[in-house]
């Protein structure tokens, strides 16, 4: 039977390890055996993240980093010190690649990802149903796609066949999937940031 102290210790240790696991990454270089690294800073929407590891773990000047959630990102060595056996790598922020151009075409294939009914990462395929004509230079309000989306798709990405984001899935209307165009999302984010700034 565990004593109250030992039981509490085990729990606290587990919690701390979980916390540490989140800042521990895998560092892989060219298929060779991988080492570990510390996620020094995760980076924001514009700044990349920083990883610290041993210099002997990274041989070349780039590496693949696998974050604790399984996301793999490419990282570049920015500083290297053989004496202290340290290396610093930065990686591009994990963000959606947004399609700025070319314009969407009616009939083009699009992919939506969502979590309907508790199923994680469900994909569905459809085509662009309509592209609003650029009347008076006004940006289109909605992307209309011929695909059927369940509620769990709301807020998720609508992407083209190269994986570039074209919109944020929002609702079904008259049998069509409506998504907020990526350009409208970007404009909204810029305005929201400007408002939030002191």
């Amino acid at each position: 039977m565990t004593t109250p102290v030992a039981g509490g210790l085990a729990q606290e240790l587990a919690a701390t390890v979980d916390e540490l696991r989140r800042m521990t990454v895998q560092v892989r270089t060219g298929g060779a055996a991988s080492g570990a690294g510390v996620l020094w800073s995760a980076g924001g929407s514009e700044n990349g993240g920083l990883i610290i590891t041993n210099a002997h773990v990274v041989r070349g000047n780039q590496a693949t980093i696998e974050l604790s959630d399984g996301t793999a990102v490419r990282a570049r060595v920015v500083a290297h010190d053989r004496k202290r056996d340290l290396a610093a790598l930065d990686f591009e922020p994990v963000a959606a690649a947004v399609r700025g151009s070319p314009r969407l075409r009616v009939g083009e294939l699009v992919i939506a990802i969502g979590h309907p009914g508790g199923l994680v990462g469900v994909a569905t395929l459809g085509i662009i149903h309509a592209v609003e004509s650029e009347g008076e230079g006004r940006a289109p309000r909605w992307i209309r796609a011929d695909m059927r989306l369940a509620p769990g798709f709301s807020g998720g990405p609508l992407a083209d066949t190269t994986g570039r984001l074209v919109g944020v899935n929002t609702m079904m209307q008259g049998g069509l999937a409506l998504a907020v165009p990526a350009a409208a999302v970007e404009a909204w984010v810029r305005r929201a940031h400007a408002l939030a700034a002191p």
Binding site: V106, E108, L109, H129, S133, D146, T161, T162, G175
Partner: protein, 304 residues
């Protein structure tokens, strides 16, 4: 990366773009415009049920220009109508008449319920032989679709992956189920509507009801079929009345073919039968009698 997926996507968009040039918006009803296809130079095909007026019709072309159009004619039995445009250099639809669509083939339905073209995709769910609409018109083949219907579906073309037109879509011929009127049928109707403005259909001026022929009578008269058509109404002065068919006659055969359903009668009344006598076998007063009846041309908006 995924080049097959990307080229499929580009090909679908190319098909929509090229076929979409011949797809027009038709302003001939309230609320949303309907779709039409520039089928032959100066002739636009649309669905009859989406054209609610005969005059003041305008058409918006794929380049955004709106022009007046005149109604060349309508055929409610196939749900087709033809409009004429004056002096347009708009491209005509590229038709696929040689190879019929196949079940499972990827198809796109186009519409133009406004200035821009719209698309929905799906597959051919059924391809079958000739069928007859509830108003008696023969459609060359049954083409059923597994795809979603949106505003502007009716009157729009069904296209294949190469942008070639397989027919005209309508939701009004099969209780809202999307069907496509094949190219061959559209061609026939367009030719006739452009020539005469109406589709000629023969008619007899009778109303019928299927009845069972009593076994004893059947044996006595040496009949093979046990169902025939009781004539329950005869239009006064109509072709059947003129040629001596009577109320209460039981129609057994028409032009040598047994009839047990009103569709069997309609099948004998194509446009080419107008003025050409048919042999009718009827039971009258317990005896089989043979008569000659000459179908007339059915007046517009008359069922049988």
């Amino acid at each position: 990366m995924s080049t097959v997926l990307q080229s499929l996507s580009a090909e679908l968009a190319d098909a929509v773009q090229s076929a979409g040039r011949a797809v027009v918006a038709i302003h001939a009803r309230r609320r949303i415009p309907a779709t039409g296809v520039h089928w032959r130079p100066g002739a636009v095909v649309a669905t009859n049920h989406t054209i609610s007026r005969d005059e003041n019709i305008t058409v918006t072309l794929s380049d955004g220009i709106t022009v007046p159009a005149s109604l060349a004619g309508r055929d409610p039995s196939t749900d087709l109508a033809v409009l004429k445009l004056a002096g347009q250099s708009l491209p005509t639809a590229s038709l696929r008449a040689d190879t019929p669509p196949r079940v499972g083939e990827l198809v796109i339905a186009l519409g133009r319920p406004g200035p821009s073209v719209t698309a929905s995709w799906g597959v051919m769910s059924r391809v079958d032989g000739p069928w007859r609409t509830w108003q008696g018109a023969e459609i060359d083949s049954l083409l059923r679709l597994d795809l979603a219907i949106y505003d502007g579906f009716s009157g729009g073309p069904l296209i294949d992956g190469g942008g070639r037109v397989l027919g005209i879509n309508t939701s009004a011929l099969a209780r809202g189920v999307p069907v496509t009127i094949p190219v061959a049928t559209v061609e026939r109707v367009v030719t006739e509507l452009l020539e005469r403005g109406t589709i000629r259909r023969a008619y007899l001026g009778i109303g019928t009801q299927p009845v069972r022929v009593p076994k004893s009578l059947g044996r006595k008269l040496e009949l093979t079929l046990d169902t025939a058509l009781l004539i329950v109404s005869v239009e006064p002065g109509g072709p059947a009345d003129r040629d001596g068919l009577l109320l209460g006659d039981v129609l057994l055969e028409l032009d040598g073919a047994a009839v047990s359903d009103s569709a069997d009668v309609l099948a004998k009344l194509g446009g080419d039968r107008v003025g050409r006598p048919l042999t009718a076998r009827v039971i009258r007063g317990g005896q089989v009698k043979t008569l000659q009846v000459t179908p007339g041309e059915r007046p517009q908006s008359q069922a049988a």
